[in-house]
């Protein structure tokens, strides 16, 4: 785990992620300016650091209602504004970028931050960016696989010899600067499905698994498939970290949490995906067996510990700010994580 800058003895890491969405607050109908949203994300990262959280990440989305298309630039600002917290993308769409440039950017962020940067590379859940950035969506799978392999190769070798279909060949190319310690953690972003997890396992790369809703037991199958694929390909699953990422909201009671969160998820998904979130499904989110971490701080502690028991994962990452959630609510959540949830999680998951 050392090469991924993880210390299992410290227990489950706790992080925050934002997709960088920029949506009106459904309760007021108002949307802050793009500039204000970007600054809010930087403040959010500082807040997470002050509360003792381990990790903060920002996503790349090229479509309406998003503000962090240039997510690496926002991460660079966060690198400068923070001192301890790990920072990453969630995720970088490697398919539609040049891996050399992505590596240069993130290695630089790693140097600015003093060795805190990581890359989470994904395939994009929406495909509008292929047209915007000049790629053919029919190459969706191959673009990702080829460029992700190159990204991993650049991370492992300072001098790269490489040729492929979607980028000019590299001959004794030096990709600079190098991150602190020579390499940095690179994760593969995986949706809930086992097919993508199996690819991550076969490649022997850490898996960053995002999830919307559903039972923990179903996502356990995805994680099991990942580890099995890794083992079959000759990698040691015990050396491969797993992170899970999804909706989180803490309030005094689970009912209050549902009441406060629902409009943000439902209206936000309507605007970004074209369909709301069914109340019936959402109501099941507070069940201990559900992967959504919604409820009172005590219920959330129980949920996360249950997930840890099932998954044996190394990092949990909470998404709280979706859908135009006002900053005071984010502050309140970070405070509850820092004062109640995180100490309990560390106490029960740390190995002496």
């Amino acid at each position: 785990m050392e090469q991924y800058r993880l210390n299992p003895h410290k227990g489950l890491e706790f992080g925050i992620y934002t997709l960088g969405d920029h949506l009106p607050d459904p309760n007021t109908g108002e949307r802050i300016s793009t500039q204000a949203r970007i600054h809010q994300i930087i403040e959010y990262a500082k807040l997470a650091e002050q509360a003792g959280l381990d990790f903060f990440s920002v996503g790349e989305s090229h479509q309406d209602y998003f503000a962090t298309q240039a997510h690496s630039v926002v991460l660079a600002a966060i690198a400068q504004a923070t001192r301890k917290i790990k920072i990453a993308s969630s995720s970088t769409i490697i398919s539609t970028s040049d891996p050399v440039r992505v590596y240069e950017d993130f290695a630089t962020i790693d140097l600015i931050s003093g060795g805190r940067a990581e890359i989470v590379a994904g395939r994009a859940s929406r495909i509008g960016l292929f047209e915007l950035l000049g790629y053919d969506v029919r190459d969706y799978e191959e673009l990702f696989e080829e460029k992700f392999e190159l990204l991993l190769q650049i991370n492992e070798q300072e001098i790269v010899n490489w040729s492929g279909e979607y980028r000019a060949p590299l001959r004794n190319a030096k990709v600079l600067p190098r991150p602190q310690g020579g390499s940095m953690p690179i994760w593969r972003a995986v949706g809930g499905s086992p097919a993508s997890a199996i690819k991550a396992g076969m490649a022997g790369v850490p898996m960053f698994m995002a999830h919307l809703g559903g039972p923990v037991s179903v996502f356990k199958q995805t994680i099991d498939a990942y580890r099995q694929a890794a083992r079959q390909a000759g990698h040691d699953p015990a050396q491969l970290p797993v992170a899970t990422a999804g909706f989180f909201y803490a309030a005094d009671t689970s009912q209050q949490a549902l009441q406060e969160l629902y409009p943000y998820i439902n209206e936000g998904m309507k605007k970004t995906n074209g369909q709301g979130f069914s109340k019936q499904l959402f109501a099941q989110g507070i069940d201990t067996r559900s992967i959504m971490n919604i409820g009172s701080p005590q219920q959330i502690i129980e949920k996360i510990l249950y997930q840890h028991e099932m998954f044996g994962h190394q990092r949990y990452i909470a998404q709280i700010d979706f859908g135009g959630m006002p900053f005071d609510k984010l502050q309140r959540n970070i405070e509850l994580i820092g004062t109640e949830i995180l100490p309990a999680i560390r106490k029960y998951t740390a190995k002496p």
Partner: protein
């Protein structure tokens, strides 16, 4: 209540004629209902390429968004090669998996022969069920002989369309009430 009438073929006139009849019943009997006719013959709809429906420009974006914002959908379809036409299947392919969740969907089927009576049961209903529609179980099946020069000439067909429209509106109202009660009970 917002009902979209989707005439699913770009070939021929029988399906559109039947859909016009349903539209007329809606206008006469349910003036509060907002009804929109979408005849695929009048739109240039592209094949599904996997993107989110919000990302399609032009006619494709218009048609998919209109369907997604409807409370109920009345689908008119002919029978092509013992199934629905590709134009109609393409509409389903353009939409998200559970696009018909909380929507009532009814069917009017036109065919050249009574041998196709079970086509909707075998070909159309499974798609609607997969997409989570509340299906109006009874459909109106109309044969070639019921049409003459773009008019319906069988009064029984007119009565059946009248009843189908009534069932569509009643079920849409009922499901809306059930949903309202159920959602209020969640208290969030």
């Amino acid at each position: 209540m917002n009902i979209v009438l989707l005439s699913g073929s770009i070939v021929g006139s029988k399906t559109r004629t039947a859909m016009n009849e349903a539209m007329q019943v809606l206008a006469d009997k349910y003036p509060d209902v907002t009804a929109t006719m979408i005849d695929l013959a009048e739109y240039d709809v592209q094949f599904s390429d996997g993107r989110n429906y919000l990302e399609y420009p032009g006619d494709t974006g218009y048609v998919t968004s209109a369907i997604m914002s409807a409370d109920a959908l009345m689908i008119g379809t002919p029978v092509f090669q013992a199934s629905i036409p590709a134009t109609l299947k393409n509409i389903f392919d353009l939409l998200p998996q559970n696009a018909l969740l909380d929507k009532v969907v009814s069917m009017i089927v036109t065919a050249g022969s009574p041998k196709h009576f079970l086509m909707p049961e075998q070909q159309l209903k499974p798609i609607l069920a997969y997409m989570k529609a509340h299906i109006v179980q009874t459909y109106v099946f109309i044969e070639e002989k019921d049409f003459m020069r773009k008019q319906i000439v069988n009064d029984d067909v007119k009565f059946r369309i009248e009843r189908l429209v009534e069932d569509t509106v009643t079920l849409t109202e009922t499901h809306a009430q059930i949903r309202e009660t159920k959602e209020a009970a969640y208290d969030f």
